[in-house]
């Protein structure tokens, strides 16, 4: 039925455009179970463990989890010197370095070191924001060519340090631009080929590292570091763009090392690495849905100066592979990966890693115990040793592709150093940064349906945040939507034909099932912004179901990426093969009507809300995005009214009480009053604004900047613009 829909769509629709639902980007990337660790019958055992753990609720969970991994214990000590971690490299010896603060500069992907996306700047105010005008528009000139057509989703957020903006383009060209004029200082093209594009060509950002041992003016004293789609770490001099000769081989470290056979597009870095205690920490996106025997989700730390491997955290063999796998072997294949951005506490020396699910997202019986333990968890590693400190799991036995996509944020919460973790299910958790213990109440759903596909694997309990969730009430038949009774009726028929038992309805194959929220629900890679002064979390979110079906092996048409001759030649809309599992997976992301391209459920499809950081209460909640670019058959309706579109990309909050955000599929960049949720100003972008904005200051003038580069999954127009706004010069 799904397939019918898909075909119908192909026939009737030229291009189902604008009602773009969603962010798969975020959602899509995963990993898989490592073939080696797959023990056929782990089903029961792990279940028991997990249930116990979580049953013990909040704090217990973390502890129990940690225990399981016997080798490590919650290391609280600052330097992370556990007894066993001794054999680590010199990175360990590194002391915490002073971290640059956000304000005049935007030195980290998430603003300040804690990734709160909050800026103390206040020149642009609620009163004068309406006067904002474009200060400059810079073009990266990186636009899709050839086989890259239709695959661009740059999602780029620049850094600003000193006088410069530092960024990457969709295909990983590193660029420095004058932050006041938009003039290019330099660029360095690492030459990423089109066939390296995994799901989409994304480079969310870059990271900086200043070598404490280098004198000012030394080459690469401060370096820009990025991970590329063809899985390299690249370091160049922040001043000149020249590759750092001391880093790896002439500025490049090959991340395919010890991963296994090189299959372009299967293993790619799309997020900025996290630098902590002189160690560059990165995961990678492993393309979803291909095979259980997928590249490892290993997390690796490299010396920020030399590019040498400092440690590896292979969740399938954490001890054995800490310094890399033995000669001739590879990191445990198929393990959950981290495709999004981590965040680090330089003082503690910990790095917080939001892990995704295994690569075969929708079938779990073959997964190893270690996969079950760590999938869809926030993992804290001691970045000096690579040892796990704690982890906190948000989904037990994830068969919904609920990867953690949001970068976590570090705050002090009621006097405790804390980490804020939003999820795709919409739950917002606040955890103790040192121990992983929840500081806010974590509840327990019980008696959840187990389905018929793998009832022994599916967990009938799940944790939820009782402090705050962005999730809405379950769907009802009357939520079916369209532009006329006819297409609405079709959606309503589909509703009744599907399996739907509310939140966490398990996968099915005889009938489709409705997954709500879908994998692009809740908070994604745009994450949340936290106004630490006012005590407000600003969260934009999606509210979108998926309509899925497990496809029996014999019906699966798609071939895995390693068998595709030409990249991207897999049939559009065909099921992902999930080789190794008995089923492929067909996902109708956003549950769209095949005939019209419109969503099958009523709007809003996304919103933005303010949450009281003390109490978790909603202060206001409004739809985000107007209907101007959306309509049936992909025809823009030009309706100026707020409908609440799907949105991906986060916000920035300023001390003056403004929220800046693009994200929605209406291609508007807007300023919202943090007190009321009212939109005070907006500008039409030349392309989709699916990226996190930033704000900074040069010579006393505050700028707000966003990249408008479009997004294939969100079906917004592609562009190459970097647009800075400021108040008119007062002379």
């Amino acid at each position: 039925m799904l397939r019918q829909t898909t075909r119908l769509a192909a026939l009737l629709l030229a291009s189902a455009a604008p009602f773009a639902l969603a962010a798969q980007e975020a959602a899509t990337e995963t990993d898989e179970p490592a073939a080696e660790i797959v023990t056929p019958d782990e089903t029961d055992a792990p279940d028991a463990t997990e249930v116990e753990e979580e049953a013990a609720t909040e704090e217990e969970a973390t502890e129990a989890e940690t225990e399981e991994d016997a080798p490590e214990e919650p290391a609280d000590d600052e330097a992370g010197e556990t007894d066993e971690g001794e054999e680590e490299t010199e990175a360990q010896a590194r002391a915490p370095a002073p971290q640059p603060e956000v304000g005049t500069d935007w030195p980290f992907y998430g603003g300040g070191p804690g990734a709160t996306r909050y800026s103390p700047l206040d020149q642009i105010t609620r009163e004068n924001v309406a006067q904002l005008e474009r200060a400059f528009v810079y073009h990266t000139e990186d636009l899709p060519e050839g086989t890259a057509e239709g695959k661009y989703s740059p999602e780029v957020t620049p850094l600003k340090v000193g006088d410069d903006l530092l960024m990457c383009s969709a295909m990983n060209i590193l660029i420095s631009v004058d932050a006041a004029t938009g003039e290019e200082n330099w660029r360095y093209d690492p030459g990423v080929p089109n066939d390296a594009i995994p799901y989409g060509a994304s480079c969310r950002g870059v990271s900086l590292y200043t070598n404490p041992d280098a004198a000012e003016g030394d080459p690469c004293a401060t370096r820009v570091i990025e991970g590329t789609l063809d899985a390299k770490l690249v370091a160049v001099d922040a001043e000149t763009g020249a590759p750092c000769e001391d880093f790896g081989e002439n500025g490049t470290v090959d991340l395919w090392q010890d991963i296994g056979e090189r299959v372009p597009g299967w293993y790619a870095v799309t997020a900025p690495p996290t630098v902590v205690r002189g160690v560059v920490v990165t995961g990678a996106q492993v393309k979803d849905g291909q095979a259980e025997e997928a590249p490892s989700g290993v997390i690796r730390g490299f010396d920020a100066v030399t590019g040498e491997l400092a440690w590896a955290w292979d969740l399938g063999a954490p001890e054995a592979n800490r310094n890399g796998p033995p000669e001739g072997e590879v990191y445990t294949r198929g393990t959950p990966n981290m495709w999004t951005a981590g965040v680090a506490d330089e003082e503690l020396g910990y790095v917080y890693l939001p892990m995704g699910n295994s690569s075969v997202d929708y079938y779990g019986s073959n997964r190893s115990e270690a996969e079950n333990e760590y999938a869809t968890s926030l993992v804290a590693l001691d970045a000096t040793t690579g040892e796990e400190v704690w982890h906190f799991q948000t989904v037990r036995r994830d068969v919904w592709d609920y990867d953690l996509g949001s970068q976590a944020s570090l705050v002090d919460w009621q006097g405790t150093p804390a980490v804020i973790l939003p999820s795709k299910q919409g739950d917002i958790y606040i955890l103790n940064r040192e121990t992983g213990e929840p500081l806010t109440p974590v509840g327990e759903l019980t008696g959840l349906p187990k389905g018929e596909i793998e009832p022994n694997y599916i967990s009938d309990t799940q944790p939820i945040s009782e402090w705050h969730t962005l999730r809405k009430e379950p769907l009802e038949p009357k939520d079916a939507w369209g532009f006329s009774p006819l297409d609405q009726l079709w959606c309503r028929i589909q509703f009744h034909r599907a399996n739907y038992q509310g939140f966490y309805t398990p996968p099915s194959s005889d009938k489709p099932w409705i997954q709500y929220p879908g994998y692009n629900g809740g908070s994604d890679w745009g994450s949340v912004a936290v106004d630490t002064e006012r005590g407000i979390i600003v969260a934009n979110y999606n509210d979108i179901p998926n309509y899925n079906r497990l496809v029996p092996r014999e019906e699966v048409e798609g071939v895995p990426i390693y068998e595709q001759g030409e990249r991207g030649s897999g049939p559009e809309g065909a099921a992902d093969p999930q080789i190794g599992a008995p089923y492929g997976i067909s996902v109708n992301a956003g549950w769209r009507n095949g005939a019209t391209g419109m969503p099958c459920v009523r709007p809003p499809f996304g919103g933005i809300r303010a949450i009281d950081l003390e109490t978790g209460e909603t202060l206001w909640d409004v739809p985000l995005g107007t209907a101007r670019r959306n309509g049936p058959f992909g025809i823009p309706s030009f309706l100026p009214w707020k409908i609440g579109t799907p949105n991906n990309g986060g916000s920035v909050v300023t001390a003056s009480g403004l929220i800046f955000i693009a994200a929605a599929t209406d291609n508007l960049f807007r300023a919202i009053d943090i007190e009321t949720g009212e939109t005070l100003w907006s500008d039409v972008l030349p392309a989709g604004g699916q990226a996190n904005p930033i704000t900074y200051e040069v010579d006393g003038r505050q700028y707000v900047l966003v990249t408008a580069m479009g997004h294939h999954f969100m079906e917004t127009p592609v562009g190459d613009e970097v647009i800075a706004y400021a108040l008119p010069e007062s002379d």
């Binding site: 532009f483 006819l486 609405q488 009726l489 009744h496 009523r602």
Partner: protein, 130 residues
Amino acid sequence: MSAHGFSASESHSRARPNWGVKVIGIICLLLGLVLLAGGVWLIVLGGTWYYALAGLGLAISGAMLIANNIMGVWVYALTWLGTMIWAWFEVGDDWWAQVPRMVAPTLLFIIVLLCLPALYRARSTPRPTL
């Protein structure tokens, strides 16, 4: 639903058949039958009866319009009224949710009402043929 271009021909004063009304009638009949068929399917699946009933009303209205019967307009009016009441009952003042429920049926209602002059003329003009 997006039928346009009927209104021009609808009221030719010549004593010819009302092609405009016929076309509108055919559209209503076809839409009604599709809605009826889908609506019956929905009932079988355990869903609401609304679509089948609305489809039935629309189909009857269409058949009458094709036959130049002014009752077709009133049958549609009744269907439309029922639709509005049902729509309000289901989702109230959630106006985005009302879009598929109210907009197209109302546009169609306006179009059907446009048939009235031609149908009145047809009634007052002795037409030996039928």
